[in-house]
């Protein structure tokens, strides 16, 4: 009797270290599947082969030997880079949907959370595109498939944020993230960027709280990954808003309420006026000091790549533990990074700029 009560309590509140006892009931099959997908990610050798390609048909031929083969084989010969990226994203979406339909609570909620970032990006894409008077169909085609929801096309009708919320977004999972940015101001470029960052901040905090509630290895690994994401966004917001009209208080409101930089790093970042000051702030934190020390003074182009490399390193480490959900998050992120790599390589090959390939490819294994 006591024994069964013990088991029930273990499966509800995962005592750290004992997830192995009950995780496989609902998650064993999917974890094994996602690890199988991870084995199909492109290695450095694959990237080296791809970098040697002369044109896009060569790239298609090399990719046919990988897991992308079945997605690209039916494409007609004058290939575009957008087609390659689109088909590879389709593979990501298929993997995701297969996992989502097999998952039970709370894994299904966890997998849904991974999509909300894409939904936010799609909403901002459509609203910005409408502002610049682009065609709706064209915008819908550019949206990321993981972030599609039913009423997304109605976004073109909205004039300000309150309408945006009331007409479309109140029925979507993004509704709770809007409480902080409901204003009646008309949407313009600056407001849209602020809206994007406010939504993303609310999303990250919500995701963080959800992972904390799950407990165990999931919460530990996801906290690390989400904290890095929050800190990276804080640095990017700071750098992108240097020299714009964004005030210090507004900038501070866009930083998330968790992460290594919270709260003292945020205080210091809010008052930064140029990149060297940002560097000065970040070098006080040992994990980020390593990133910033790779760049010489005054250079900021390599910062994106350095952040991506650090993110990939942490994502690969998530696979070292078994019986937690962070492997799903890590796999999705690694695939997205791989698609970014493929897009860069395809663009460089298509435009005959192969010397610049290594500027932006992040190797994983």
């Amino acid at each position: 009797m006591i024994f069964f009560l013990a088991i029930a309590s273990i499966s509800e509140r995962n005592m750290y270290g004992f997830e192995a006892l009950t995780f496989n009931i609902h998650g064993g099959y999917l974890e094994a599947i996602v690890r199988g997908h991870r084995a199909g990610l492109l290695t450095t050798a694959d990237y080296n082969n791809l970098c040697q390609c002369e044109n896009l048909d060569d790239i298609k031929m090399h990719l046919s030997a990988t897991k992308y083969g079945s997605y690209l084989q039916n494409e007609p010969s004058p290939l575009h880079t957008t087609t390659i990226v689109e088909k590879c994203t389709l593979k990501l979406v298929d993997d995701y949907k297969h996992m989502l339909c097999q998952a039970t609570e709370p894994m299904s909620t966890f997998l849904e959370y991974i999509r909300y970032g894409h939904m936010i990006d799609n909403v901002v894409l459509i609203v910005t595109g409408t502002l610049h008077e682009r065609d709706v169909q064209e915008l819908l085609e550019k949206c990321h498939p993981l972030g599609m929801f039913d009423s997304i096309a109605t976004l073109v009708v909205a004039q300000n944020m309150r309408e945006l919320y009331r007409l479309v977004l109140v029925d979507t999972p993004l509704a709770p993230y809007f409480s902080e940015c409901l204003t009646s101001e008309d949407l313009d470029d600056m407001n849209i960027e602020i809206m994007r960052n406010t939504l993303y901040k609310a999303y990250l905090e919500d995701f963080y709280k959800f992972c904390q509630k799950l407990g165990g290895a999931t919460s530990e690994i996801m906290s690390d990954l989400l904290a890095f994401e929050a800190d990276r966004r804080a640095v990017n917001i700071t750098i992108n808003s240097i020299g714009t009209e964004l005030t210090r208080e507004d900038r501070k409101k866009l930083y998330s309420n968790f992460g290594l930089l919270y709260p003292y790093g945020h205080e210091e970042l809010a008052i930064c006026e140029d990149i060297d000051q940002v560097r000065g702030v970040m070098e006080k934190y040992p994990p980020y000091q390593a990133i910033f020390s790779k760049m010489s003074y005054g250079e900021s182009q390599m910062l994106d790549k350095a952040f991506y490399e650090e993110e990939v390193r942490r994502l690969c480490l998530a696979f070292e533990q078994q019986f937690h959900y962070a492997v799903f998050f890590a796999y999705m992120r690694l695939r997205e990074q791989e698609i970014r790599n493929l897009m860069w390589i395809s663009e460089c090959v298509a435009q005959n700029q192969k010397s610049r390939i290594h500027d932006s490819v992040v190797y994983m294994f």
């Binding site: 192995a20 006892l21 496989n24 009931i25 064993g28 099959y29 999917l30 974890e31 094994a32 599947i33 690890r35 199988g36 997908h37 084995a39 199909g40 078994q322």
Partner: protein, 180 residues
């Protein structure tokens, strides 16, 4: 009452305990021996099996080799059955005048303890082998040189169940009921 005074128990709980029939304890011991061992084996098999099935989709070569993990878990259930059969052969009838003698109680408790030892040792052994088997399947799918090395860990894990069986059988060997 005279029995209580003669045996010198300080509380009535002690008296109640020794008045439970030794056959009750024996029967519960036998039930735990088989029941909890099978629980451990089943637990281990599902932990291994779910990972094995998922991993075999991308790497079908691992299926035949990794069935060894399932077999190790199964062995745990077999230990439980064997000990349960041995224990039930130790049960003998004694006349009711001798049912509460010290020697009868000793036999009853020996069978009970033997059942608990075997049951719980097999429970944790089954769990251990199951979790390692799951990791073994996933690692084998990524890198086939790891299989044999992880198998060695599993072999050590399955020795735990064997320890339980050995001690249980030694314990039950002293389950001698008073002669008529």
């Amino acid at each position: 009452m005279s029995g209580v005074v003669a045996l010198g128990y300080a509380s009535s709980w002690g008296a109640a305990l020794v008045r439970i029939s030794p056959y009750t304890f024996s029967a519960i011991g036998i039930a735990i021996s088989i029941g909890v061992s099978v629980l451990g084996a089943a637990w281990g098999i599902y932990i291994t099996g779910s990972s094995l099935i998922g991993a075999a989709i991308e790497a079908p070569r691992i299926t035949s080799k990794n069935l060894i993990s399932v077999i190790f878990c199964e062995a745990v259930a077999i230990y439980g059955v064997i000990v349960a059969i041995i224990l039930q052969t130790k049960l003998e009838s004694v006349p009711s005048s001798k049912m509460y003698d010290a020697e009868s109680l000793r036999a009853g408790y020996a069978i009970f303890a033997s059942g608990i030892i075997v049951g719980f040792a097999n429970l944790v052994c089954g769990l251990c082998v199951g979790i390692i088997g799951s990791s073994c399947a996933l690692s084998d799918a990524q890198n086939s040189t790891l299989f044999v090395k992880i198998l060695v860990i599993e072999i050590f894990g399955s020795a735990l169940g064997l320890f339980g069986v050995i001690v249980g059988i030694i314990m039950s060997a002293q389950a001698t009921w008073p002669t008529k």
